[in-house]
């Protein structure tokens, strides 16, 4: 009777030890997955905000995350890059771009997980014989890339 009881407790202990091992393995996988998921940029809100404030003279051509080096530290920052064009009179272009950046920075829809957006480059180009100004905006993501 006692032997039987000891045996059954032994089996339970073995099962539990096995489960604990399996659980640790799964939790490690889950933490890897969660870490990767947290780093993901959620685009739907960003696209909605970009369109909401988009002036008539402007269009967006490309969106992607990119690693950039911080100015003061060696830490790499992941930034959301927005590339686009503006087609207006040279006197108006700077105003249009800056107004757009201002409105984006004030929007909670755009600002979620992002630090303040800034202009990093402009370049004069020609599309279908029309002069346009290509621009590039950078918005650092609040999740920092680990040092490599």
């Amino acid at each position: 009777m006692l032997n039987k009881k000891i045996l059954s407790e032994g089996v339970k202990c073995e099962t539990l030890a096995e489960f604990q091992k399996k659980n640790t393995e799964f939790l490690e996988k889950l933490s890897l997955y969660k870490k990767e998921k947290e780093k993901r940029v959620i685009w739907a809100n960003k696209l909605a905000a970009l369109n909401l404030f988009l002036p008539e003279e402007m269009w967006i051509s490309k969106l992607y995350p990119e690693k950039e080096k911080g100015n003061l530290s060696e830490e790499k920052t992941l930034s959301l890059v927005v590339k686009g064009y503006v087609s207006s009179s040279p006197a108006q272009e700077a105003k249009i771009i800056n107004n757009y950046i201002k409105k984006l920075n004030q929007s909670p829809l755009w600002g979620e997980n992002l630090e303040s957006t800034r202009l990093v480059s402009i370049k004069e180009e020609e599309i279908n014989h029309t002069r346009v100004l290509a621009f590039q905006l950078y918005s650092p993501l609040k999740i920092k890339e680990e040092k490599q």
């Binding site: 407790e9 202990c13 539990l16 489960f19 959620i42 739907a44 490309k62």
Partner: protein
């Protein structure tokens, strides 16, 4: 003279045997005892867990099955021998629901990430009006089947009110 010699020899032999016994007998024994102690501690902790919470095995089973479900959904593409086919099936359902047209889908690479996760990537070209495309992207991002949109390129569509987006997508291979 002889006594001194024999005493010296005896002492050396005693030292030699003592050191040998310590290295080859006592040290391994100490390691084994330590290991057994740890095993006993583990067994005792497991036994006390069983005693203090009789439903612990069922609770563990539940937790494992919930975690494994999340991992399965994260690895949904790598569980098939035809990941692009499975992805197309999934994207096509969303495209039909959101009235978006899939123009092009192509597997681009199988790269290895640093933490042992393999990743699969695709280029997807879709057309629709801006809001249809936006809600198509929203559906992809909200799906429990993990997909990451790496990059979006926007260009005008065939008709005036249409827009084309080329999305670079990536998904997990096997994690860990």
């Amino acid at each position: 003279m002889n006594i001194k010699r024999w005493t010296g020899l005896g002492l050396s032999l005693y030292l030699f045997l003592g050191t040998g016994g310590f290295i080859f007998l006592l040290l391994p024994q100490r390691v084994t005892i330590q290991k057994l102690k740890e095993e006993r501690k583990n067994a005792e902790s497991i036994y006390s867990q069983i005693k203090s919470s009789p439903r612990i095995i069922e609770e563990f089973q539940k937790e494992i099955s919930a975690t494994s479900k999340i991992i399965k959904q994260a690895e949904w593409l790598s569980r098939s021998s035809n990941p692009t086919g499975i992805l197309f099936l999934n994207l096509n359902q969303s495209a039909l629901k959101k009235q978006v047209k899939i123009l092009f889908l192509e597997e681009i690479s199988k790269k290895k990430y640093e933490e042992g996760k393999k990743s699969l990537s695709w280029k997807l070209d879709v057309e629709g009006n801006y809001y249809q495309l936006l809600s198509f992207i929203d559906r992809i991002e909200r799906s429990p089947n993990y997909l990451k949109i790496e990059e979006i390129t926007i260009s005008p569509g065939e008709e005036d009110n249409l827009c084309r987006m080329v999305l670079t997508l990536s998904g997990f291979g096997k994690i860990g």
